[in-house]
């Protein structure tokens, strides 16, 4: 029993560690500033974290398969532009949103198709589709932002649902759905097995390529959903929206304990990491640290966290090898 509890704790060690850091950061910041622990500020942090959570869920799946998706930032822009163009040419809000989500999902599915059909490194494939997607977004708009939408659309970015807002609800829903799919469905199981030993999964009779295509499709879908939030929040669809978002999403996923070598990862880790990054950014601002230094500090924190997680993992492995 104690042994099982111990192994369980080890399984969730990165999440527990990250959670403790988050709590420590919150306690420290609330002591330093009276403005930190107010509902207004917390709501602000949650609101700022929603984009990263939504994209991070899809990215977690992809990284679990030992893959990567660099095209998510460009998909954020393209899906927003598809929605904007559709609405400005007379389509209703609902269908326009669906069209934008579909566009993002298709880019994701294409990523998966090219990666599995030609067996090319995901880094290179999604680097290519990132540029293609961004290019399409620029061509469609001529480089000019599209703005001015109905309130039925902007509600998705800045509406109110009681004390929270629609992006928070979307992020929560996506995180819960992602956790269920990763832990309690065949697809999630296969995502982890794809990263752990793709050949073994294939030899067990599983259609590995099909599953990979679906997983990249999910990542495209969540990026498109982030595109909806960005576009609705700013009331503007910009061809350069979501610039470098892919790097934030990857950093959050890895900070959350998902292994870039694939095979292990968790949605809860990703969510905690997104919140931690949100709290840190907010805290650094409250402590009036200039934004250039914030950039530096966040980068250092990510590096240190990843090094600690790698060392911890290696220690565990070494201990196990000695035990056998």
């Amino acid at each position: 029993m104690i042994h099982r509890l111990w192994t369980k704790t080890q399984d969730y060690a990165s999440q527990v560690l990250l959670g403790l850091i988050l709590v420590a950061a919150i306690i420290y910041l609330s002591m330093v500033s009276e403005h930190f622990l107010t509902w207004f500020n917390i709501r602000n942090i949650l609101d700022q974290s929603t984009l990263l959570v939504i994209m991070g869920v899809g990215m977690t799946f992809v990284i679990c398969t030992a893959g990567i998706d660099l095209s998510v930032g460009a998909v954020v822009a393209l899906s927003g532009i598809c929605m904007a163009t559709a609405m400005h040419s007379g389509l209703a809000v609902g269908p326009a949103i669906l069209l934008g989500l579909l566009a993002g999902t298709i880019i994701g599915l294409l990523n998966g198709l090219i990666i599995s059909a030609f067996n090319i490194n995901p880094f290179i494939v999604t680097l290519g589709t990132m540029s293609v997607t961004r290019g399409i977004a620029l061509i469609m708009t001529g480089g000019i932002p599209i703005y001015g939408f109905s309130t039925a659309f902007t509600w998705w970015g800045s509406g109110h649902i009681g004390p929270i807002n629609p992006p928070m609800l979307l992020a929560l829903g996506i995180a819960l759905a992602g956790a269920v799919v990763l832990n309690y469905t065949k697809l999630g199981s296969y995502a982890l097995a794809l990263g752990g030993n793709e050949e073994a999964l294939h030899r067990s009779g599983v259609a590995t390529k099909k599953n990979k295509v679906i997983i990249y499709g999910i990542c495209g879908f969540t990026a498109a959903l982030a595109g909806l939030v960005v576009t609705a929040r700013l009331n503007t669809a910009e061809p350069l929206a979501g610039y470098m978002f892919e790097l934030d999403a990857i950093a959050a996923v890895v900070l959350g304990g998902t292994d870039m070598k694939g095979g292990r990862g968790s949605i809860s880790g990703t969510v905690i990491a997104c919140l931690l990054l949100g709290v840190l950014r907010n805290g650094l601002t409250i402590m009036s640290i200039p934004s250039y230094y914030q950039q530096l500090a966040i980068g250092l924190i990510i590096l240190i966290a990843v090094i600690i997680s790698e060392l911890r993992f290696r220690n565990t492995l070494n201990r196990l090898q000695e035990a056998n």
Binding site: R4, S189, G196, A200, S204, V206, N324
Partner: protein
């Protein structure tokens, strides 16, 4: 003996596999029977692995037919082979180290309720049962495969093959990386499986092991099946003769005298 004992479960007919100009398999005919251990022996590059890959569905033959339970196929894939009841315990074991024992045992045939929700509790219970039945010494099916010893890992690979529900189990070099005790365990397991009615195919370099556990021995050389012997009526030197092409029969007679 029942009728099914006489009829082969798998018949390979004229199987040929070319890799460019290299003929990895040439016109191989082979029958595989239930409740028997068939050993496939031969030197490196003799075509043993290629033959196993044809049976497990890893590769499709260039020519020839595979007849399984009366149905004829020109080639299999892993999913088809498993659904036809042919499971393989690979030399590298093909386990997902980052997942637990139960997830590996049910890899590709996960149990679900409501049509999609993984029934982890049921899989854990069945895993325990399965491992107990096969005498695999693993206390907790929730342990990561990376935490287990070589013998335990092999036990999981065998248990997974059994769990796939087939009638034919292929072992690719099962004792190659094993210590003495672990080899003993796996050899006993193979004998048990044949006694329980499975058709077992074992590819091995170890003639002693092969002689101990098999009923028939096939010798491969340069892509051809050069001998198909009853184990009870053959000697190590006769088999070595077929493997190497060197005539050792006289030595054998001297030893016998």
């Amino acid at each position: 003996m029942t009728d099914s004992d006489h009829k082969p479960i798998i018949r390979l007919r004229n199987i040929t596999k070319n890799y460019g100009n290299i003929r990895a398999l040439q016109n191989v005919d082979l029958d595989i029977y239930m409740s028997q251990v068939l050993a496939v022996v031969g030197d490196n590059g003799a075509g043993k692995s290629t033959l196993i890959k044809v049976l497990s569905g890893a590769i499709k033959p260039s020519q020839g037919e595979i007849e399984v339970a009366g149905k004829v196929y020109t080639g299999l894939n892993p999913a088809l082979a498993i659904s036809l009841g042919i499971s393989t315990v690979y030399q590298d074991l093909a386990l997902v180290d980052t997942r637990d024992v139960a997830a590996n045992l049910f890899l590709g045939r996960e149990l679900v309720k409501f049509g999609w929700w993984l029934d982890k509790k049921l899989m854990l219970e069945k895993s325990k049962q399965l491992l107990r039945n096969l005498n695999v010494n693993i206390v907790d099916p929730q342990r990561m495969v990376s935490q287990l010893s070589g013998g335990q890992r092999q036990g999981i690979a065998v248990a997974r093959a059994v769990n796939q529900g087939g009638k034919v189990i292929i072992f690719d070099e099962p004792t190659a990386a094993m210590g003495v005790n672990e080899s003993r365990q796996i050899l006993n397991l193979i004998k048990d499986l044949a006694e329980q009615g499975y058709a077992v195919i074992v590819v091995s370099h170890n003639l002693h092991h092969v002689l101990e556990i098999s009923q028939r021995i096939c010798v491969m050389k340069q892509g051809r099946l050069v001998a198909n012997l009853e184990t009870a009526q053959s000697s190590p030197s006769e088999i070595a003769h077929y493997i190497t092409g060197v005539n050792n029969l006289e030595d054998d007679q001297e030893i016998a005298q």
